[in-house]
Amino acid sequence: MQFAARADTSAELADTFPKLLIQNAEILRGRPAMRHKDLGIWQTWTWDAVFEEVRALSVGIAELGLARGDKVAIVGTNRPRLYWAMCAVQALGAVPVPIYADSVADEMAYVLDHAEVTIAVAEDQEQVDKITSISDRLTRLTHILYDEPRGLRDYDHGRLQWITDVQARGRAKLAAGGAAAVWLASVERGKGSDLAVILYTSGTTGRPKGVMLTFDNLIVSARNGNLFDDLGRDEEIIAYLPLAWIGDHVFSYAQSYTAGFCVNCPETPETVVEDRREIGTTYAFAPPRIYENLLTLTMVRMADAGALKRRMFDYFIGVARQWGEKILDRERVPLFARVLYGLGELLVYGPLKNRYGLGRIRVAYTAGEAIGPEIFRFYRALGINLKQLYGQTEASVYITAQPDGEIYADTVGTPNIGVEVRIADSGEVQFRSPGVFIGYFKDPERTSETKTDDGWVRTGDAGLLDERTGHLRIIDRAKDVGRLDDGTLFAPKYIENKLKFYPNIKEAVAFGDKRDFVTVMLNIDLVAVGSWAERNNVVYGNYQELACHPLVYDMVEAHVREVNQSLAGDRALVGAQIRRFLILPKELDADDGELTRTMKVRRGLIGERYAPFVRALYDGATQATIATEVTFEDGRKGVINARVAIRDIGPPAAMEKAA
């Protein structure tokens, strides 16, 4: 079997990450494990070097006093030392708790307190300041370690320590002898069934939940994932997604340790595209938003390009759309098409993929949200093996994924290796797998709500299994699916996603449950619409002015009408067409609690905050005013006063025909 042939050379016996690291340091000695771009140059650590770093850090941390089972927060962006800290902590039998780096202090205080964190490993001054500002609420916290010393020189170093100093003490202790054996014994005490990590999910409602995953959960899931996509030690990935997100934890940590591939940390969060291009990643993972942004940026740039280039681009993209996916799926394609596609590869696709940093890509995943079929096909047409994946923190990522060659834009694929999926009578998708979490930390109530007695997990998503292909299709969050007054099915996310597939529309929030008809509130995309405004001499000062512009309303109205048309084609949804819409005067923001940290809209909260708008959408008014609170980056609050117009689409003809 393939598994045996390729399988991670690492022995099957290693059942924790520290043990895997020790093995990798032997077997993969001299091979790159991690890179970080620093001062413009890629610095590389081999597996044996990472082992030395982790062990030194681990011994240093042990000196600070850390008992088995203690929790250690990891706060920051993707930097080698933060990943090492996870393994260093696990080697001591303690549990890392990665935290979203962009959380505001209050959110962070909740998680740090709830997780009973005793040591926090922070990236830089910003994070240290945040933790210090809430330290009176964190009675258990004894030490804060930091990675980037800038600006921290004059801080009180009572309980604040530079990671490098901690490592130095660890090295000194190791050099003195004896410490290595003690450390090894501590690693040996760890077993696969131990708690490996707690990941807090941002959740669209309520307080974050701490998902507890064991080493077995993560390592078995990661190995199955490696097998599914034939991942080996030669892969190169770039780590740029939040450490606190299960996706990054599995792709940049669990899979790297099990498959033995190299993880590249970008220079800064802003340089990811450039850094990815330099590395040439072979395995990639991104939420649809990233692909949307790349495509929007490409289209905006092309609109500004010279006529010749634009025509060449348009022509070859046409060729790609016709033949690209067929070639990727190894179907039979006429010779002339292959030649034409080859020419396109040389002139357009190749350079474009190189720009995206996807020139060497073997497998690219999109997950977290539905991706627009147009966007999805665009990348596949270029020859990028983009696939959809459906996963959850509670599943250690993998529930379903599209196998190579079986790609349908509207499904999320077949169950992964070792995963069983069933659809409950309520329409809810449920699964059972080796990756199923132990429970939510200190929350047996919500754990039992989510896990059934026989070990199945309720995903909270409504979906159906495609009879023809056996692939899973996700419609919406089960609890969000509602009904209009006349009984028509109302799947808000389905409508929102259709709208968001237009580059001009960044966010959409649909209303309609227990109402007469469907309405939406929209956010325009400042890059796309801004570029359009520039080309059409539309003058605007800020987001609000642009959003209120009548021409922008006209453009968006055309999009809404098209969405209505596509809804009219679906028997179940024909009554759920959009009657009225407005464009919000402010961008929805996670800092205001309107989006989750993973950028999903919080429909209920938005409905409350913009209650005057919702009222106006349903009482026939042509405009509405509101005073809404915004949070600035520094945490201060301000108020935006705004008046917006409401557009009436009216009952569309197609609906009457269908009725």
Binding site: D38, L39, G40, I41, R150, G151, R153, D154, E267, T268, E270, T271, E274, F632, E633, D634
Partner: protein
């Protein structure tokens, strides 16, 4: 940092400057102490930029004396000031717009480059090893100012806030003893101002660079500076800590009070 007792790195004594009949500065005296952040404020046309230009050697005052690092001088040219350890940024950004951010900052190192023209032309031998050393320093500045993502972007294409940051980078590349900032936050939004304030403080804190800055935003001035000198119609009307200056009646009359 305790600068109250620090020695003066620059002292200005009874300086007067006139353009024809217009008196830009009359009889101004103050000093800048080693390691401090010194603000020069005043209403429009108070003579702030003229003062900076005098310190910088760009204008020659008709009267008065200036001593920098203990050395008296009457006549000095800007390049001499640069060589002596004074760097500056400008009110309206003055960068090489067609060059990348990296090259602009590297240009700030030109005074420290010693390889002769011949080697530089060939980019070989001493010129190459020198460039590598300078590039390292420049990369540290890029890292410091968090502009890695625009390293290879033409400066003319950057938004204003980032251009300002590149300009600060070029000034820092000179590793100056005294850094003159002419309205570093002008035209910035709140977020950019906060970023820039943090950089100014970090430069002062980390490199121990003495900084003299002209700024309109009172919040910024009061937060950043150790001492403030206030000019009005070319005359010094107050000098002291931000708290002292804030309470000074002459300042309130001339500037802060009448603004509303």
């Amino acid at each position: 940092m305790d600068v109250a007792a620090g020695e003066a790195i620059l002292s200005v004594e009874n300086v007067s400057l006139a353009f024809g009949g217009v008196k830009a500065l009359s009889d101004v005296s103050f000093d800048i102490r080693k390691g401090e952040i010194r603000a020069i404020i005043g209403p429009n046309g108070a003579g702030k930029t003229s003062m900076l230009n005098v310190i910088n050697g760009f204008y020659q005052p008709q009267h008065g004396r200036i001593a920098f690092k203990g050395k008296q001088r009457s006549q000095m040219r800007p390049y001499e000031a640069a060589r002596g350890g004074i760097a500056r940024t400008f009110q309206n950004v003055a960068l090489f717009r067609g060059m990348t951010a990296l090259d602009n900052i590297l240009a700030g190192r030109s005074l420290a480059m010693h390889a002769n023209f011949f080697w530089q032309l060939l980019r070989y031998g001493p010129a190459l090893s020198e460039e590598v050393a300078h590039r390292k320093r420049v990369e540290e500045i890029i890292d410091f100012l968090e502009i890695a993502h625009i390293r290879k972007v033409q400066v003319g294409r950057l938004p204003y806030g980032l251009q300002k940051r590149v300009e600060l980078g070029r000034a820092l590349a000179m590793e100056p003893d005294l850094l003159l900032l002419d309205e570093p936050m002008a035209g910035m939004n709140l977020e950019e101002k906060e970023d820039m304030s943090r950089f100014v403080l970090d430069v002062n804190n980390q490199f121990g660079t003495t900084i003299a800055l002209i700024e309109h935003d009172m919040g910024v001035v009061m937060d950043l500076s150790d001492r403030v000198v206030v000019l009005d119609y070319g005359r010094r009307i107050a000098d002291g800590t931000p708290e002292q200056v804030k309470r000074d009646q002459a300042v309130i009359d001339a500037y802060l009070g009448v603004a509303h």
